[in-house]
């Protein structure tokens, strides 16, 4: 079942690549239909999901792959990966709908996005470090071509910077994985086996291995000071590319923390938690402040991603901090972190899709070039306002649930993390200011003659926002899946 979900987009991509004379309409139908089937399959996966118990996996598959280095084709899901799998399929479906009217090399773009979907799904289902690394690297390659091929502005340079920077992260990750492999006896790359073995207990070398892994994941997440590739990549990427980059690819970094770094190197994680907390707090505050200073809307959203990813780091750092706090508080923080991954994917995905409308109509993201846009484009203004409020953490949206749990857990474990709270206020301020600059006042600049949202744009961005609201109002099903897994992570980290 998992293999089917992972391979189906790849097969569809191969079909698209192999039929050079396919019409645009057929290509986009294949893309949308595959993305739709994927979403249905992923929702089916969730419907049939029964919590497998601590350390267990649902839908597990394991085949021999490279037995001589202890690596296998090992897939499985638990409460950490299942929400992200569903999120992936939803985001890609939204992208397929959003680009429905696009005419720019439809066949190649559809094939590339389907390939990208395979890498994202594979990564979240992988239970083997080499398999994880394979999908991690391929997602970078695919995103490079998305930015270089369909971006705008200085896209070649941005794509190159993205590739080099995240490739640096992936090599650091590989070095860390080799360290994990050599540390375990018998040598293995299998994630559950490594988690059970906890081979680096009391071994100071674990700190260096974790350092390599943290570097790799921190570049991908990204956190301060490894975030500099993110703003140019987002600014020059196409709207759907940005949505996938922010919605899914950034989660690969944060997911790596909970899937690999915390359970496999608990001693080192606890030792490093002050540094992780510091980086998290810095990311929150720095991301928010720099976002406040932007005049380019997409750069602004990109920096708020740095801010939002910082909350996740704070929660995960607090889970490993050496204080007297109980497991419940820490588990609340971890649950909040995973919820934040889903929530950020939905909301920022929607924000980037909406920001893409500016580029499509007016060829610029500069907020100063617009004014009074609510008059010619009331729907756009409405959607954007909803997305902005969701992003700044308004109750009734998923962001509130996530950030509330993160802070409740983190401050409970490490009271000092309260110094990150102003990040929320700054984020609120910058979104309100952006709304004011673009949408209110007299109609001026590029806002004149601005066409309002088309149905495809409304449907794609709107459905992401609806999902965010559903999670915000009925969080119980999501939390029911995440909480047992978060408990398991906390007990693994504290052993």
């Amino acid at each position: 079942m998992l293999s089917l979900i992972i391979v189906l987009p790849l097969a569809a991509a191969a079909v698209l690549a192999g039929l050079p004379r396919l019409k645009d309409s057929a290509a986009r139908t294949v893309f949308a239909a595959t993305a739709g089937v994927e979403t249905v399959l992923a929702v089916g996966l969730w419907a049939g999901y029964r919590a497998p118990g601590p350390g267990g996996l649902a839908y597990e598959e394991r085949l021999r792959w490279i037995p001589n280095v202890g690596s296998s084709y090992h897939l499985g899901v638990d409460g950490l990966s299942l929400p992200l799998l569903v999120l992936t399929t939803v985001i890609f479906l939204a992208c397929a709908v959003y680009d429905w009217k696009s005419r720019d090399r439809v066949r190649a773009r559809s094939a590339l996005f389907l390939f990208l979907e395979t890498t994202c799904l594979g990564l979240f289902a992988a239970q083997d470090l080499i398999l994880f690394f394979l999908f991690f690297d391929l997602s970078i390659v695919a995103m490079y071509f998305v930015i270089a091929g369909w971006g705008h502005g200085d896209r070649a340079r941005s794509a190159m910077k993205f590739f080099l920077y995240t490739f640096l992260g992936s090599l650091a990750l590989l070095v860390g994985f080799i360290g994990l492999y050599l540390g375990a006896d018998p040598h293995t790359f299998d994630i559950p086996e490594l988690a059970a073995a906890n081979a680096f207990r009391g071994n100071p070398a674990g700190g260096f291995v974790l350092a390599a892994i943290l570097l790799g994941l921190a570049v991908k997440t990204p956190t301060v000071p490894f975030h500099t590739w993110l703003p140019p990549a987002h600014t020059d990427a196409p709207a759907t590319g940005s949505a996938v980059l922010a919605g899914i690819l950034l989660k690969m970094g944060t997911y790596g923390f909970v899937r690999i770094a915390m359970p496999l190197l608990p001693d080192a994680w606890r030792a490093w938690s002050p540094a992780i907390l510091t980086v998290g707090i810095l990311s929150v505050l720095y991301g928010a402040l720099v976002a406040l200073a932007q005049s380019d809307l997409k750069r602004m959203i990109a920096y708020t991603s740095v801010n939002h990813m910082g909350y996740i780091l704070i929660a995960l750092g607090a889970a490993g901090a050496a204080t007297g706090a109980g497991s419940t508080v820490r588990a609340t923080a971890v649950t909040g972190a995973v919820t934040q991954m889903v929530s950020h994917g939905l909301i920022t995905g929607a924000l980037f899709l909406l920001a893409g409308v500016l580029q499509a109509r007016a060829k610029t993201y500069d907020m100063g070039a617009f004014g009074g846009l609510a008059t010619p484009a009331p729907k756009f203004a409405g959607f954007f306002a909803v997305a902005a409020f969701a992003s700044l953490g308004l109750p009734a949206f998923s962001g509130f649930i996530a950030e509330f749990q993160i802070f409740a857990g983190s401050i409970g474990a490490v009271p000092l993390t309260a110094i990150a709270l102003p990040g929320i206020v700054i984020t609120a301020a910058l979104f309100l200011r952006a709304l004011q600059r673009i949408f209110t006042g007299p109609v001026k600049g590029r806002a004149e003659g601005f066409t309002d949202l088309r149905p495809a744009e409304m449907l794609s961005a709107g459905s992401l926002l609806v999902l965010s609201a559903v999670v915000g109002v009925f969080p119980a099903p999501l939390l029911a899946a995440i909480t047992p897994a978060a408990d398991a992570i906390v007990s693994l980290v504290r052993r």
Partner: protein, 482 residues
Amino acid sequence: MALQLLTEAAHSGPDPLALLPEIFLLAGAITALLTGSFLARQRQWITRVIAIVALLASAAAAVAALGAPAASVYEGSYTVDAATGGARLIVAVSALLVILLGRDELRGTDRESEHHALVLLASLGAVVLAGTSDLLVLGVAFLLASVPLYALIGMNRTRGGAEAALKTYLLGALLGIALLLGVTITYGLAGTTGYAGLASGMATAPGAAVAVGLLGIIAGLMFKAGAVPGHFWVPDAAQGAGTASAAFATTVPKVGGFIAAYRLLDAVHGTVNWPLLIAVLAALTMTLGNLAAYTQDDPRRLLGWSTVSQAGYLLMPVAVAGSVPLALPALLVYLAGYAVSNLAAFAVTAAYPDRRTLAGFQGLGSARPWHAGALVVSLLSLVGTPPTAVFLGKLTVFTAAWDGGFWWLTVIAAVNTIVSLFYYLRWIAPVFRTAGPDTPGAGDFSPRPWAARTAVGAAFLILAFGITAGLAWAALAGAPHS
């Protein structure tokens, strides 16, 4: 001498069929050469068929011998084991790809039959170099692998080709003498030329003398491997020689050089501190190759420097020979992956021989998507992106080096890999850019058919190898645990 050895093999050896893959190469070379001298220029293609048949037969014989237990033949002077089996197979498949990608370039030229004969002879030299476990045969194999190479590199009779051939010859002669000197000293110290007796024979010898002897031999083998200090000829040969010869010269000799170095150093494990020397050479080679490739604008010269950097990664398992069980499989996997990836990239340049700048490939992506795909796969494989062939090689050599205590070498190699991505991307990026009016050739891509087909075929081979090599390895070597 090698001829003598091999003809003797056919008559007097304990198992005349033990060297069947080598015999096919020799027979193919002689047949191609003789047949070629009696054929009109328009019918020289027959020699190509002979060469292909010989290589296929050699590869088939090598596959048939793969599972057999390791054996030492001819009084210990030649070893038939997993390393020799790997060398036979990699060399035969590589030479086959070279002949296929050079088909359009050489068809109907007055040097076609000689080319094929020389390719087969140099391949034989590489295999014997890899298989020998005797210092004297090592010296002979060095000559057998080198002399045809000089001729191949200079054969297209261009200025660049002549310069490259001269450079290769001078360096080969110099380091060949170093190798023979090293062989002499080592023989004098150990009292034997067989690898089996070297370590015990040199146990009481002064360390400095042992080091000088080994140093000379390693210097000679680094010429074959294209690694520091014997790397100077590689970029010139890659740029100046004919495409097929360049592809051959940057691939097949390495197979012989690295496996020979591995075998020798494995035999003298524990004598002097050679692992550190090899590790330093590895770090120097990969760094130098990568930095020099940085600024190249000719794709062939870029590939030449890239093969130097790849030689650095290939030295990593050699540095831990004898102390890490993973070293030999890592070396073989990397060699196989590297050979097919490098040849795929050369095949793309062979398909468009007139495009000698990176910018000349602008627009290839939209004009010839399959060829662009083959180029991307081969270059990403050289970077080491999964699931391509070199990824498995990189994973295993990184692991082997760290396991042998050289964690710093693994870190240097990882940093070098990031650096290498930069110049490979300099080639990938224009491929997907739209061709402008100032593009050389203006985006009119009419490929040479066989070279292009070889490129696409090799690209599929890269992916197939990368995905299935782990299982094949387990089937051949036996999995350590389920």
